[in-house]
């Protein structure tokens, strides 16, 4: 089991790591849409020495820091989303079951908080950004990071904007000479104090629903206050922290080349942000659950192809749609490889991360929600054994979410509702 980051590891403000403390532990989710061909993605044996199946060949990469990428990633197959009689809203039920542990009663609704926000609530408080949400789809209105139906964390869609947000003028650069706090930051704090003073006057005048909404607003105000506190503290003493270089030109959209490039640029910026402890929680949407990925010059998108393209009887799968499975796995490999490229402590940044890769369905053609493809990269500071294939034997996907929460230091004993409730972590992957 991973150790929670105890208060005694933090300095007096609880904001920066004291000398000799363990490196921060981070969690991230990485999502791709429209699943896989289960028969071509699932390894044929469990444990360590499995043969990489054709749709996981992207993991057969040599890492610059040594070893193969597959040794850093565990494959989780055979875990199911269970409906309990609720509708299998196409692409929504499987995603929400996996990320929230609950099934929606209506389409396009979010029944419970997503995993990343549950973890951010626990460990996001001591960094400048409670969490960072990103998307490679170019759509600013879509991420799968929800605290509730109404509280949706909008993604960064532009690497340039992400760079500016994290590494812009406010970034406290540990390599930029002596640190002097900016008096404007203190003045901005007083601006927020005045806003908080409006609170009681306003709460008296509104109803119950609006109180909930305003509570969320004031939670956000406090979060920014904390962010400003951290800015005044100056840079943390982190050996691996270097200010990222500004990203080059970007092209946003869902053409394969665009999404792949955005994923790489964002992964790079994120790796620097994590190394500088700007955040400990992130989520990335590589493609929408109704995947809009497309090849230039083609009239059909990934999702459309999973339904419209004929299954080639000679090979047993849809050849054009399957190209997008390969692409998605390459993108996942790009992302994880980048985190493994930054040395940190005695190992790499990835060693101090838990990255949860998953899709919304197994076989998209059938909107399959049994055997949702999931992967975990990184050892979470040694709490996990990587490089395994574990079959879930039809147990609920929530077991994975439960395991993640426990490894990330939450005191969660069960997670999920109805027959999605899980009490048994996936012990095979625990170190």
């Amino acid at each position: 089991m991973g150790l929670p980051l105890l208060d005694c590891f933090l300095n007096a403000n609880g904001t920066a790591l004291a000398q000799g403390a363990p490196l921060p532990l981070r969690f991230g989710a990485w999502m791709w849409g429209c699943g896989v061909n289960p028969a071509r993605w699932t390894p044929s044996s469990e444990g360590t020495d499995f043969e990489l199946p054709v749709e996981l060949q992207a993991l057969d990469r040599e890492l610059a820091t040594g070893g193969k990428l597959r040794e850093q990633v565990s494959i989780l197959s055979g875990f199911d989303v269970r409906l309990d009689g609720r509708p299998n809203f196409p692409h929504t039920a499987g995603l929400m079951g996996t990320l929230t542990g609950s099934l929606p009663l209506q389409d396009y609704t979010v029944p419970a908080p997503t995993l990343d926000t549950i973890i951010a609530a626990k460990i996001g408080g001591s960094t400048r950004f409670r969490s960072l949400e990103m998307s490679c789809t170019g759509n600013p209105n879509q991420s799968y990071s929800y605290e509730s139906q109404s509280v949706f964390n909008a993604p960064e869609i532009s690497p340039v904007a992400l760079y500016t947000r994290v590494f812009g003028p406010e970034f406290a650069d540990p390599n930029a000479g002596p640190f002097t706090p900016d008096p404007r930051v203190m003045l901005r704090q007083s601006v927020l104090s005045a806003v908080k003073a409006d609170r009681d006057r306003l709460l008296q005048r509104v109803g119950e629903h609006d109180k909930q909404r305003l509570d969320q607003y004031f939670t956000s105000v406090r979060q920014l206050e904390q962010q400003l506190d951290i800015l005044l503290d100056g840079p943390a003493d982190l050996e691996s922290c270097v200010r990222a270089a500004a990203p080059g030109p970007e092209s946003l959209g869902t053409e394969v080349g665009q999404s792949m490039s955005t994923n790489q640029l964002m992964a790079s910026l994120l790796s620097f942000a994590l190394a500088c402890d700007q955040t400990r929680v992130f989520s990335m949407m590589f493609s929408d659950r109704i995947s809009g990925l497309r090849q230039p010059g083609s009239s059909a998108q990934h999702h459309q192809l999973t339904h419209d393209e004929a299954l080639d009887p000679a090979i047993g799968y849809q050849p054009e749609a399957t190209e997008f499975v390969y692409i998605s796995m390459e993108a996942w490999a790009d992302f994880v490889e980048r985190l493994a490229a930054i040395p940190e402590g005695d190992g790499t940044l990835l060693d101090n991360c838990l990255v949860f890769g998953h899709s919304d369905v197994s076989l998209a053609k059938a909107h399959g929600i049994t055997g949702i493809p999931m992967m975990i990269a990184g050892t979470a500071r040694g709490a996990l054994t990587p490089g395994l294939h574990v079959g879930g034997a039809t147990s609920p996907t929530t077991r994975v979410g439960l395991t993640i929460q426990q490894v990330m230091g939450l005191n969660t004993e069960s997670w999920g509702s109805r027959s999605m409730e899980a009490t048994q972590p996936v012990s095979e992957i625990l170190a």
Binding site: D107, A112, L224, A300
Partner: protein, 551 residues
């Protein structure tokens, strides 16, 4: 882009109504019992945020474009605004936007427009001058006069900051920021009170009515006159309300309000956000600039038609529109004006008339690489006729629509497969015949006679009315009995920020009847809504939102 301004005979007609109202003859609906729904805070949409900043602090200000995304619910940002909150990343962006706005508002070349006094010394705080500024700007931003405590807090920030930064105006910037990030600015606060003349009825307070009217008709913050009417209690009286509504309907700002309504209803924000993407190789004519002009073309057409008090239904048949030369390339039509816009009539040979033949709709309701008869038909059913189209069942057997031998060349051939299956037919028979009429417009709305070498058949029927092509479909839509009542429901939802309650159905029926009797004049409908009890009364604040997981 500046909007065009139309003048017309409506001015005289409206002036006549104003006299009637002033004489005590209310022009509002006859007494219809209304049990109105709840009120809630309404978060400013990104567009309202920008427009409010421009109206109060100056048109020169560049407002950061990406703030917290708007929440679209039940097909309207105006409804989502009653549910949206502010997330941590959203607040971070609001604060950054406030800083950027405040800096521009008080830069050396614009500060004198906003600050009606001079500081005694420019390098320290000046409390009386700061107070004047905060009170004046705060009233417009909060849409009411500030309380003493609210003002004091901002004046103190301005003084403290001015002394720290040794700059009076830098101090004001911080004071202004604290107004711009306040929930009192970011949310429109709608309050209810007991109506003294009908003690069992809750009504919106007069000052709440000022904002409600202003964002409905102008999509921005109230002007000084409306605020004064709100603060004087005029907007809870028949005559006071009628007088302001008439004034607002005659203002050029009404064009902005009408644009905002239809932009929201038609989800045109997708164009602004660059989300209507097409494949470059397949559609080389398509560019972001071109499609933004296509959106503008449709909005100009709507505004021109409705401000001239033409029949709303005629929007779907009119060949009158506006054109640029760039759009002319995509339409393959000659355009005389080299730069900018000109009024334009689609010639007969263009085989286009009505909004649904515009590039904007056809590009919006298509995939990046191909048109979609289903999406287009779904839009007409759901948005224009207020009819629900269910999502496809999950256990559907898609093998029937598989492109088996490549023999299916047109959308009609592909979609006929859906109709052959009972599981699909229920919805596809509702959507596809409408969309197939528009198949002569490809994924970017360019005209075509054939698809993959096969001629396109655009014939079909809408609720029993047969047609041959898009123009005929537009006529069938114009004559569809659901078209007018649907706009009434939509505008009502837009106005009150929520779906209608059962106690409001009688009102909606009456509004629909009066809309028809007026010759489907949208300005008349807006007046009727603004004067109705559905708009002016409420059941009180909304209850807590149930979690999505409740059984």
């Amino acid at each position: 882009m500046r909007t065009i301004h139309f003048t017309n005979a409506r001015l005289t007609a409206a002036a006549g109504l104003l006299l009637l109202a002033a004489a005590g003859c209310s022009s509002s609906s006859p007494a219809i019992p209304v049990d109105a729904g709840p009120v809630a805070l309404r978060r400013l949409t990104a567009e309202q945020f920008t427009r409010s900043v421009h109206d109060v602090l100056g048109e020169h200000i560049t407002v950061p474009s990406r703030i917290d995304p708007d929440d679209r619910r039940s097909g309207l940002l105006a409804v989502g605004a009653s549910f949206a909150s502010v997330t941590p990343s959203g607040f971070e962006k609001y604060e950054a936007a406030a800083a950027a706005v405040a800096e521009q508002a008080l830069d050396a070349s614009h500060r004198d427009d906003l600050v009606p006094c001079q500081p005694a010394v420019a390098t320290t705080g000046d409390e009386p001058c700061a107070r004047t500024f905060i009170e004046r700007v705060g009233r417009r931003l909060f849409r009411r006069s500030l309380s003493q405590a609210e003002t004091d807090a901002r004046v103190e920030i301005a003084n403290q900051a001015a002394n720290t930064l040794r700059d009076f105006y830098a101090g004001l910037e911080l004071g202004l920021m604290s107004l711009l990030v306040s929930p009192e600015f970011l949310f429109r606060v709608e309050l209810a009170e007991a109506d003294p003349s009908r003690p069992s009825t809750m009504r919106l307070t007069s000052i709440s009515m000022a904002s409600r009217l202003s964002y409905l008709l102008w999509d921005s913050t109230p002007d000084d006159e409306l605020l004064a009417a709100g603060e004087n209690g005029d907007l809870v009286t028949e005559n006071g309300l009628a007088a302001q509504v008439e004034r607002m309907l005659l203002s050029p700002n009404l064009e902005t309000g009408i644009r905002a309504i239809f932009s929201d209803l038609y989800d045109f924000k997708q164009f602004d956000e660059g989300l209507v993407r097409k494949d470059n190789a397949l559609f080389p004519v398509y560019t972001q600039t071109m499609v933004e002009e296509a959106k503008e073309q449709t909005l100009r057409t709507i505004v021109g038609h409705l401000i001239a008090d033409e029949d709303y239904r005629g929007l779907f048949t009119t060949p009158e529109t506006f054109m640029t030369r760039r759009l002319g390339v995509a339409y393959r039509l000659p355009v005389a004006t080299a730069n900018g816009w000109e009024p334009y009539t689609f010639p007969e040979e263009s085989r286009r008339a009505g909004l649904l033949s515009h590039i904007s709709f056809n590009a919006l309701h298509s995939h990046p690489g191909r048109s979609s008869a289903t999406l287009r038909g779904k839009f007409v059913r759901e948005v224009l006729l207020c009819q629900d189209i269910p999502t496809p069942p999950a256990n559907i057997d898609f093998s029937i629509v598989e492109n088996t031998e490549g023999a299916l060349r047109t959308a009609r051939e592909r979609l006929e497969k859906h109709v052959a299956s009972p599981a699909c037919a229920g919805c596809h028979t509702l959507t596809d015949p409408i969309g197939l009429a528009l198949e002569s417009f490809d994924a970017i709305g360019m005209f075509r006679e054939e698809e993959n070498g096969a001629p396109i058949d655009t014939s079909g029927e809408l609720d029993g009315i047969a047609y041959e092509d898009a123009i005929g479909m537009g006529e069938a839509l114009r004559d569809n009995p659901a078209l007018g009542p649907c706009l009434v429901r939509t505008l009502f939802r837009y106005a009150v920020g929520r779906g209608p309650e059962s106690g409001e159905e009688a009102l909606l029926e009456s509004l629909a009847e009066r809309f028809a009797n007026s010759g489907y004049r949208v300005t008349e409908l807006l007046r009727e809504i603004a004067l109705s009890d559905g708009f002016r009364t409420t059941s009180g604040p909304r209850d807590a939102e149930p979690s999505g997981d409740e059984p």
